[in-house]
Symmetry: C2
Subunit: 344 residues, 2 copies
C-alpha cells in the first residue's frame, strides 16, 4: 500500500465512482453503454450471452494479510472469466461491486482497481458497471462476468460420453501448495514480526494462488483447431470434485491414472517440504483454475499436439463409478473432499 491516505468520505459516493472509473477504457465494439447510467447495454451481434457471478468475502475467501489488493482485483476477475472459459465462451464484459468499510483508503481501492483493470486488459473485457457501497466491516466483492458464444456452441458439464478422453490443462495442486506456504509464513510472521518471508524461490506456487490466470488461451486453441469438447468445467474445487460434477451430470463413470496427473516441479518440492502427497493436493486442493474437459477419442491426435493439455484418463459406463488408478496399480474410489463452508 502506498503511504498516502485519502479518506473515501472526502470524495463521496459519486465522486468515488468517478475516481475509480475515470480511466476506464472500452475495447469491445459491442459496448454501447458503459459505466454511468442505470444499466449497461451490450450488443452481442447475434451471438448468445453467457453469464456467471462470484462473491468473495474478506476472512472467508481471502486474507488481506498476504494478499496484495492488486492481485486480489486481478484474481477476482480471472476466476469469473475462468467460468466463462469452462463454457467455451469468449469473455466480453464484467461488472464489479464492492462493499468497503472506512478502514480502506482511496489509495487502497486504487490498488484493487489497478488489478481489475489489468485483468480487463489481459482478457480484453470491458468494465461496464457495478455498485460501490459502504460496509460496516470487511471487504466484500461481487463480480459478474459476461461473454458470448456462437449460437449453441457452448459446452456444459453434462455431455461426457463413454470412451471420451479426460483432459486437463496446465498443472494441478500448485495453488493449494502456494496457499499452504503463505499460511505458514503468516504464522511465522505473527510470532516473529521481524522476520520477512522469502517467497522468491517459490514464485510459481505462490503466483498460482495469488494471481491465477483463466485459460482463454486454451479455449482459443480448441476453437482454432476445431476441437469441440463434449463436457467441460474449470478446476476451482480440486480435480476430484470437478470430475464428479462431470460424471454425475453426464451419468457416466471414469478412470483417472495418477501418473498422468500433471504436477509442476516446484509443487513436487513444496509437497515434499510440507509432507504432503502431490496427488492429494491435485485431487482436493482447488483454486487451480485449469480446464477439465472430455473429447471424443478421434480428437486424440489433435489434442496431443498441445503442450498445455494432458490426457489423464477416460470416461466409462456409470456402473464403473469414478476411480483413480495409483502408480502402484491400486484402484481408489474418487470422493469429493468438499470443504463445507457452512460448518462451524
Amino acid at each position: 500500500m502506498s503511504e498516502e491516505r485519502t479518506e473515501i468520505s472526502t470524495l463521496g459516493e459519486f465522486g468515488l465512482i468517478r475516481h475509480l472509473t475515470d480511466d476506464n477504457e472500452t475495447r469491445q465494439a459491442g459496448t454501447l453503454m458503459s459505466v454511468g447510467d442505470d444499466a449497461a447495454v451490450i450488443d452481442h451481434f447475434g451471438k448468445q450471452t453467457v453469464v456467471t457471478t462470484d462473491m468473495l468475502l474478506e476472512g472467508v475467501h481471502f486474507d488481506l494479510m498476504y494478499t496484495p489488493l492488486k492481485h486480489l482485483g486481478y484474481k477476482a476477475v480471472a476466476v469469473n472469466i475462468s467460468d466463462l472459459c469452462a463454457m467455451m465462451a469468449t469473455p466480453t464484459h464484467i461488472t464489479v461491486s464492492i462493499g468497503i468499510s472506512n478502514r480502506f483508503s482511496v489509495e487502497a481501492l486504487d490498488e484493487f482497481y489497478q488489478g481489475v483493470y489489468a485483468a480487463c486488459e489481459r482478457y480484453q473485457v470491458d468494465l461496464v458497471g457495478g455498485d460501490t457501497v459502504s460496509s460496516l466491516k470487511g471487504f466484500v466483492i461481487s463480480i459478474t462476468a459476461i461473454g458470448e458464444v456462437t449460437p449453441n456452441k457452448f459446452v456444459t458439464r453434462t455431455g461426457a460420453q463413454v470412451n471420451d478422453l479426460i483432459c486437463v490443462t496446465g498443472t494441478l495442486g500448485s495453488a493449494y501448495l502456494g496457499l499452504q506456504l503463505l499460511e505458514r509464513e503468516k504464522r511465522i510472521f505473527l510470532e516473529n514480526p521481524g522476520v520477512q518471508p522469502d517467497l522468491q524461490q517459490r514464485s510459481h506456487t505462490v503466483g498460482r494462488f495469488l494471481k491465477p490466470e483463466a485459460r482463454t488461451d486454451v479455449v482459443e486453441w480448441l476453437i482454432e483447431n476445431d476441437i469441440v469438447p463434449r463436457s467441460m468445467i474449470d478446476v476451482s474445487d480440486g480435480l476430484s470434485s470437478e470430475l464428479l460434477h462431470i460424471v454425475t451430470g453426464s451419468k457416466v463413470g471414469c478412470v483417472v491414472h495418477e501418473e498422468k496427473i500433471p504436477v509442476h516441479e516446484e509443487a513436487r518440492e513444496m509437497a515434499l517440504e510440507f509432507g504432503l502427497d502431490t496427488t492429494t493436493c491435485a485431487l482436493n486442493g482447488g483454486e487451480d483454475y485449469e480446464l477439465l474437459f472430455t473429447v471424443a477419442q478421434s480428437d486424440y491426435e489433435k489434442i496431443s499436439r498441445s503442450e498445455q493439455i494432458s490426457v489423464i484418463g477416460y470416461i466409462t459406463d456409470a456402473q464403473e463409478g469414478a476411480h483413480l488408478i495409483t502408480r502402484q496399480g491400486n484402484k481408489h474410489r474418487l470422493v469429493a473432499q468438499g470443504w463445507n463452508a457452512f460448518e462451524t
Copy 2:
C-alpha cells in the same frame, strides 16, 4: 420466521444450492442454460443485452428487525429491475448471490428465496445463476439483472432537450415516510418489547418501503403508445438527486413546480404526523423506484392519457440551472441532499 430450524451445515454447499433452486422454473425462451453449470447461456434473439447490478448489506441497506426476509428477497430483485426499466429495457434474467452466516437457518433462506421467486414470477424473469457463500457476520446480497432492448432503443440519462416535459410516475416520498414509521416503531419496541406496532393503517407507506415495485407497466405502456422518452432514470435517491443526474448528464437546466409533484394522501397524513414537509420527502427521500423521464412537448397529449404519469416541469437551457418553484411562487435551487454513506 417459521419455528423449525434446519442448520445450513446439514445440507452442505451444493445441497443448499440444490435445495434453493429445486423449484426454479424458466419462463424465458432465451434461457438456454440456467442454474447448475459454470455459467448461464441466454439468447436475446438479435436484441441488445442490458445489465445492471446492486449490492445490499445488512445493517447498511436493510434492517432485519423490521424487514421480513420474503420482502427483502422481493425488493432486492425489484430494485434491479427498476434500473432496467430506467433504460426502457424488458427484464429477462437475474443472478442472485448471497453471503450468510450460520446465524441463518435453511428456513430463513427459504423465506428470502420465496420473495426472490415471487419477484421472478411478477416480472417474468428467470433466475439463472448466483453464488452461495458463508459470511463471518451479516447477510450480504448481490443481484445482477439482465434485460433486452430492440437494437438502439434504450434510453439514457443524457438525452434531455430544452423544452422537454419532465414526467414522473406514481407518487413520491411514500417510501421515506414508511421508513420513518418503521424506525419509530423499532425504537418504541426496543424500549417496550411488549408493545406490538399497528402498521395496518399505514399499509401504503410501509408497503412502498418494504416491497417496492419496478414500473415495468409504465415501460410497456410507453412502448405500446409509441412514446420514446428522451432521457430516463429511476428514483432511488430522491427526485432532486435524479433530476440533477439528468440535467448534468444532458447539459441542460430544469424548472419543477412543487404543486405538480405527486404525493399520496397517506404520505401527506404521515408527514403531518412526523412534522415533515412532503415536498422535502419527495425531493430527498429516495427508495420510491418510480421513473423520472423527459419527453418532447409533442407527446403531451398522449402522456396526459396515463393516470400513472404526472408532468412536473420542463427542461431549460443549462444557464437557467435547476430550480423548484414553490406553491408560493418562490424559486429554490435544487441540490442533491446526497446522503454520504462513507461518512463516519
